[in-house]
Each structure stands twice: as C-alpha cells, then as structure tokens.
C-alpha cells in the first residue's frame, strides 16, 4: 500500500526518514481499520471471555468460577440438544445446498443465452434480500390462511403440510436457508468456473471427451478448492444458526423454543434471563464446537490442497 506513495523518494541520505515516514503513513492507513478492529472485535471478545469466567445467580450474586460455566454448558441438555440440532441440520443442508448450487453453476456455465444471464440474476437475488425479510416472507408463504400451499394442496384434495409445526420446522428452515444461500454459492462456483482455462476443454474435446466427461473430469476437480471454501462457510454459518429461527419464532413459538440453537440459547440467557456470564460461556463453547468441526473437516480433506494452507 505504502510503496507507491513513496517509491520516487529514494535520494540518498533521505532514506532513513523516508522509511519512517512510510511507516507513519502505513499506520495512518491501517489506523482506522485497526481502531475498529480493536474496539469492535478484539475488546468485546476479550470482555466476553472475562465475563464467561464468572457465575451469576439471582441469589448470591456473582462469583469467579473459572471454567465452571463451560463445564455446565457441556452438560446442559439445552445446549447439547441445540448443538446436535445445528450439526444434524448442517449434515442435511450443506450437501443439498452444494448440489443445488453446483448444478446451477454448471448449467449456467454451458448456456450462453440471454436467458442464462437473467436466470443467474434471479437465482442470486434471494441472497440480496435481507435474512429478516426473507424469513418473514417464508413465514407468510407457509401460512395456512395467506399462503399458496393450502390452495395448491387443496386442488388435490390434500391437507397442506404445516412447515411451522414442530415436526416439519426442520424442513421449513432448510428450505429457507437453501433458497437464500444457494444463489450466493452458485456465484462463487460460477466465478471459479469462468476462471478455468478454456483450452483445457478444447484439448479434452479433441481427445474425444463428452460433455459429461468434461464436467466430471475437468470442471468439478478444478472446482474443488471453491467447493471446500463453500463448505467451510456453510458449516460455520449453520453452526451459528440464529436469524431465521429467531424471526420465525414470532410465528411458531411452540415449534421453536428459546434454546432451539446454541446461539438462540445464548441470546435467551444474556438478554431475557439477565445471565450474560452464562450467555458468554455458551458463545465460546459454541466457538469451540465450530473450531473442532471445521478442524475435523479440514483434516479430512487436507490432501485436496486448499485455500487455507
């Protein structure tokens, strides 16, 4: 960053002061970011870590317990059930999401009509809609009274499934998240596909490869780093699941209890039950779970060569 600013100033004798000045400018540029980074990220995290070492109860006040809150979190059924929920949700969501976005990206990569461009935009669109609005919208679409589902199923004389009920909320949320994120992942994959050297396809065709073989043998292998990246993002995002269930809770409090996901549980502890300490501990415990999950995953795929190494 600083190089272009001062590179013409290389007269002998001025070198030392130039370097100092360069440093000064460097710091000036980094300063704004650094202040925000420290004030809004490092400091709060440090404070949360500090908070999580204390235990607060309504009777008896606050006392230092070191890792007591963490021991409690990892034996707390509310937290563990929440973790289990987000993990099982990830196990279904991520493959589905990747399959959908990969399929669309591959199709759009082959098509070069105007329709393809339009579709690309439309498929990406849900990502541009704020999560809150997306969740509210789906809440209405699932509605028995306002939504199209009841009518659609009514044509066949069937009862529409209630995606906001306890038994189907999993699939209701799955649909919302896939709808919202598949387009975004599709764009990442599509961009990576555009980066593949077309001469490879040409060579393959000359060698007699079919379209399918090109997809399976060239495109997908070359997309592996992008796919792994998506996977890690999706994994981290899903383990921290909060927005969609929190919004839908307004419509389906019975199906989405306060401890539905670990993040919602942390929110409940900190903001409804006035137990910031335990809330902070849950957040860090969740952080540990995310770290372990991502580490396991990266370890399992370490040979594929990737973006993080």
């Amino acid at each position: 960053m600083t190089a272009s600013t001062a590179s013409p100033m290389t007269k002998k004798g001025h070198r030392r002061s130039t370097t100092a000045r360069q440093n000064l400018f460097g710091w000036l540029f980094v300063g704004p970011f650094g202040i925000i980074f420290l004030a809004l990220l490092v400091l709060p995290i440090g404070f949360a870590l500090y908070l999580s070492l204390f235990q607060k109860s309504l009777i008896g006040g606050t006392r230092f317990v070191l890792f007591g809150n963490y021991a409690k979190a990892f034996t707390d059924p509310s937290f563990l059930d929440g973790v289990w929920f987000v993990i099982s949700f990830s196990l279904v969501l991520i493959p589905l999401q990747m399959a959908v976005s990969l399929a669309i990206a591959l199709i759009l990569d082959i098509l070069i009509t105007r329709f393809a461009r339009f579709s690309r935009l439309m498929i990406f669109m849900p990502y541009a809609i704020p999560t809150v609005i997306g969740a509210l919208m789906w809440g209405f679409l699932y509605s028995d009274n306002f939504g199209p589902l009841a009518e659609l199923f009514g044509i066949f004389g069937a009862q529409a499934p209630d995606f906001l009920s306890r038994s189907l909320i999993f699939w209701g949320l799955l649909n919302i998240v896939t709808w919202q994120w598949a387009g975004y992942y599709m764009i990442i994959l599509y961009a990576a596909l555009q980066g593949i050297d077309p001469t490879l396809y040409e060579a393959a065709r000359i060698d007699g490869a079919s379209q399918w073989q090109i997809v399976l043998r060239i495109k997908i292998p070359l997309l592996t780093p992008a796919l792994l990246l998506i996977l890690v993002f999706a994994l981290i995002g899903t383990l921290q699941f909060f927005n969609e269930p929190k919004i839908l809770q307004q419509l389906a409090a019975g199906a989405i209890p306060d401890d539905f996901t670990p993040n919602m549980y942390a929110y409940q502890q900190a903001f409804s039950l006035a137990n910031q300490n335990y809330g902070a501990a849950i957040s860090f415990a969740l952080g540990a779970v995310v770290f372990v999950c991502v580490y396991i995953f990266l370890f399992a795929t370490r040979k594929r060569g990737s973006f993080l190494s």
Binding site: L28, R117, F146, A192, G195, L229, L251, P257, S272, A274
Partner: protein
C-alpha cells in the same frame, strides 16, 4: 462485497478479473491497478496530502460515531435519553424532566395531559417497542448500569424479576399512601413483592369468554358456565361439523398460567423477606387437572393449537375458525387494532364470564395488565414516583383509555363510576360488558404470586404446551416435566426450593 474478497482465496487475481468482468452486474468490479494509481504527473506531495486528509477524515468519522452513541444527559433524568429524544413535546422547558418508556397506544395523549397539568416536572416519553422488546432493552440497561429510563412501563408478571436484581424502587414511602384507596387489594398485590410496592397499577386484564354469536346461533348453543359444559358444547359443535371452540397456544404461557389459577392452583410461593426461599408447585393436582383437561381437548381436536397474536391467528379469528376467544378485557382493543370486527365479522362478538371448575366457588382470573415502575437508575426517585403515580391517572387520560378499549383501568374511581359500568361497548354490539363480565371479574380477582423465575418459567411452560399440542406427552407428564425443569433452574440460581 464479501464475495469478491473471499474469491481471492479460491482463484488467483487474474482469473477473478476475467470472471468478474463477465459477471457484469452481479459483482462489484474489482479495480485494476491502473484505476487505483494516481494520474501520472501528480506531484508526490499532493498525493501525500491526499492520504493524510483521507486518514484524518476516517478518524474523524470514527470519533463522531463513538460520540453519538453516548447520549448527553443534561436533564436531571438518569436515562440515556436527552430531552431532544422525546417523542412528545415538553410544555415547560424549565422544569426537571423525568424519562419514561411506555407503549400504550395513547401514550402521547397521556403524557401531554400530564405535562400540561404539572409545572414542576415534565415527562419525556419514548416508545422503545412493546413487551419483550422493551424488557430486553430495559434488562440490558439494568445489566449495564446505565441507560434505563426513570420510569418504565412494566407488566405485573415481570416486576419480581426486575425487583430481584435491584432494578426497581420501592414506592411505599414515595406516595403510595396517597393513592392506596384508588386500587383494589388484588391490584396492589400484583405490583408488590413481599412488603414492597414496585409499581403504580394502571390497567388490568380480567378475563372473560369472548364468543361469536353467529356461530353460537348456528349450532344452537349458549355460553357454557363450567369447563365440563365447555367441553360438551365444543364436542357438540365439532360433531355438527363446526369450527374449533377455542385455542391452546404454546406462545401464551401467561394465559395458561391464568387458567391454572382458575382451578385454585398456587404455582409459586415467594417472599423476598425469606432470602432465597421459593415454593414451586407446578405439578400440583390442580395444575395437572387443567393440563389434562386441555390436552384432552387438543387430542379430541376440539381446540386449535396455533400460536396466538400472529397474523395467522387473527385471520382465523376473523374467519370464524374459533367459536370463542378466552381472553382479557383488553382483547377488544387489540383485536380491533388488528382488523377484527370490521368486515364480515362485524357485530358478531359478545362476551360472557369465564367457565368455572366449581360453579359454587367461582374464581376470577386475570391476564396481563401493566404498571409504571421507578427504575433504580432514576436520579430523583421522588420526582419519578410522582410521575409513576400521576401519569395515566387523570380523568381525561383514563376516559380515553377505556372508551377506546385500550386499557381496562384499575382505578376504582373509574371502575365504580356509572358511566363505566353502563358503557355499551360498540365491539360487543352495545353489550354492557363491563357491568356483566369484567368489573365483577376484576373485583373478585385475588392477585397472583410472581417470582424472579417468571421469565424462565414462561419459556419452560411454552415448551411443555408445545409438547402437549404435538401429542407427545399427557398433561400430567407435562406438569411433572415443568416442575422438574423450573426447580432445577431455581436451584441453579441459588434458591432454596421448598
């Protein structure tokens, strides 16, 4: 934005540029080096000045941001709101200001009435959201130690929770004696914790059975007076192909708690004077009976199980999906606000007393109702108490409140007035609902015992109702699970459970 930065990790820079160019509108174009570089010939000095100015501008913006959040406190009120943040107009700028958070639909009128009548103190009112939203903000301000208003609108069932954290001021010596006779014993009990008075009662929620005359006529039924009759009537309507009779909603634990009290249950015993002791009887025979009864209704598909107060539910109410709506006196105001009673369902509503378990020994129950509490962050508690007791206490404000069914007032001067008793409520097609249903219920109401566990208890009860509605457990099992859940929370919070 995020996507471009992330992409750098996947493919190398040149690839990105080709792809982003092809992507066109979808991604912000990443700038090439030529674009970033200054035009040739620009003196180095200019560039450096440019850099410094930019950096300073950034720093300035940062300072501005952090300054904005703090909020000036120049008004003698302890709150984070300066006088300029008021939603109302201060009539007398020289008087000390007391900050107030409230979400009554007619708050502005009420505050204006107060400010006009008082020279020595002015109210600065802010609406920070209704119910849970406001409590979360208040709770955060309490935990943070600053930012709470001087006076806060609080529902009776939250008072004990805030009181236990030392967030509320005892009003016993701050004007309680002067207004003591204006409210019933039950009204005072609801805002008391032990011997302390932690709120000025404003409105209550005596319950009745709101029903649809059109559905009742169609199936030739009359309002049931006991729960036994209630079930028989519901069955009759269902057998004739009619709608659900009521609803059992997981998101309304306060409503279900009121139903517990209707069977003479005493879910909690709590007196802060006995430091750390609490009685929890959530699996008592009375509560089991209530939950068994409702789980039976759910199993027989006689009542709906949707969450209440959602657009979905309101649509169902207008649609005639429910023959009755067991609710409080404030319900008509709420329902009309949501559009009920305006279209095809206009003029079909009436109300009757709640069904009873033992008609010889009727029990009146209450759902909701609010008070004004003084927060412990108030810099001048006496002045704040004056506001708490004075705002929404004048005739004009109360009249506006009850005539529009925004509140069911607890002030006995209103409750006993002929005008109030004989009022022909338009929503109920001119039925004298106050005289027939709500005033008797309010007068007979004995109050409930609220505890600092209230928040957790509601959340736990919601889970159990959801499980009942899902057909997973019986009412009796739900009561046992609820008891276990709440007791373990209480112990964890340091209480001795009796």
């Amino acid at each position: 934005m995020v996507s471009t930065t992330l992409l750098y990790n996947v493919v190398d820079q040149s690839e990105i540029e080709t792809s982003t160019r092809r992507l066109g509108v979808l991604l912000p174009r990443s700038r090439t080096d030529e674009e970033v570089q200054q035009p040739k010939g620009t003196p180095v000095k200019t560039r450096r000045v440019f850099a410094v100015v930019t950096a300073l501008a950034f720093a300035g913006a940062l300072v501005a941001c952090s300054g904005g959040g703090g909020g000036g406190d120049n008004n003698g009120g302890g709150g984070g709101d300066s006088a300029s943040n008021c939603e109302n107009e201060i009539k007398n700028p020289d008087a000390p200001v007391v900050t107030l958070w409230a979400w009554y639909p007619n708050s502005e009128l009420v505050v204006d009435n107060f400010n006009e009548a008082n020279d020595d103190v002015q109210v600065c009112w802010t609406n920070v959201g209704a119910g849970g939203e406001a409590y979360d903000k208040f709770q955060t301000a309490i935990s943070a130690g600053s930012g709470a208003p001087d006076v806060m609108m609080v529902e009776a069932d939250r008072i004990a929770t805030f009181q236990a954290q030392g967030a509320l001021v005892d009003l016993k010596d701050l004007g309680y004696e002067d207004v003591k006779d204006n409210f019933s014993e039950g009204a005072w009990k609801d805002v008391s914790v032990g011997d302390g008075i932690y709120g000025a009662p404003i409105d209550g929620g005596p319950m009745g059975m709101i029903y649809r005359t059109d559905i009742f006529e169609e199936y030739g039924i009359t309002p049931p007076t006991t729960w036994e009759e209630f079930e028989a009537t519901a069955q009759k309507v269902k057998d004739a192909g009619g709608p659900w009779f009521a609803s059992f909603a997981a998101n309304q634990p306060a409503y279900v708690t009121a139903l517990f009290y209707g069977n003479g249950a005493e879910p909690f015993e709590y007196d802060p004077a006995n430091e750390g002791e609490i009685g929890i009887n959530l699996n008592s025979p009375e509560i089991k009976e209530v939950l068994e009864y409702w789980s039976g209704l759910v199993e027989k598909d006689l009542v709906g199980t949707e969450d209440q107060f959602t657009p979905e539910y309101i649509a169902g109410v207008i649609n005639g999906n429910y023959a009755t709506y067991l609710s409080a006196a404030w319900a008509p105001g709420y329902l009309q606000g949501a559009g009920v009673g305006e279209g095809a369902d206009a003029g079909v509503w009436a109300t009757a007393p709640m069904p009873q378990w033992d008609p010889n020994n009727p029990i009146a129950i209450n759902w909701g109702g609010s008070a004004f509490s003084v927060s412990s962050q108030a810099s001048n508690p006496e002045l704040a108490a004056k506001v708490a007791f004075g705002v929404y206490a004048d005739q004009a404000s109360l009249d506006d409140g009850w005539q529009n069914q925004i509140i069911f007032p607890l002030n006995v001067n209103v409750l006993d007035s002929d005008e109030f008793l004989n009022y022909e409520v338009p929503f109920f097609s001119g039925q004298q609902a106050n005289k027939e249903v709500y005033v008797p219920a309010a007068n007979a109401y004995k109050g409930m015992t609220y505890t600092p566990l209230g928040q957790y208890y509601y959340s736990a009860l919601t889970k159990q109702i959801a499980a009942i509605n899902d057909g997973q457990i019986t009412g009796s099992e739900a009561a046992d699970a609820l008891q276990e859940d709440v007791v373990s929370y209480a112990e964890e919070q340091g209480f001795t459970v009796n």
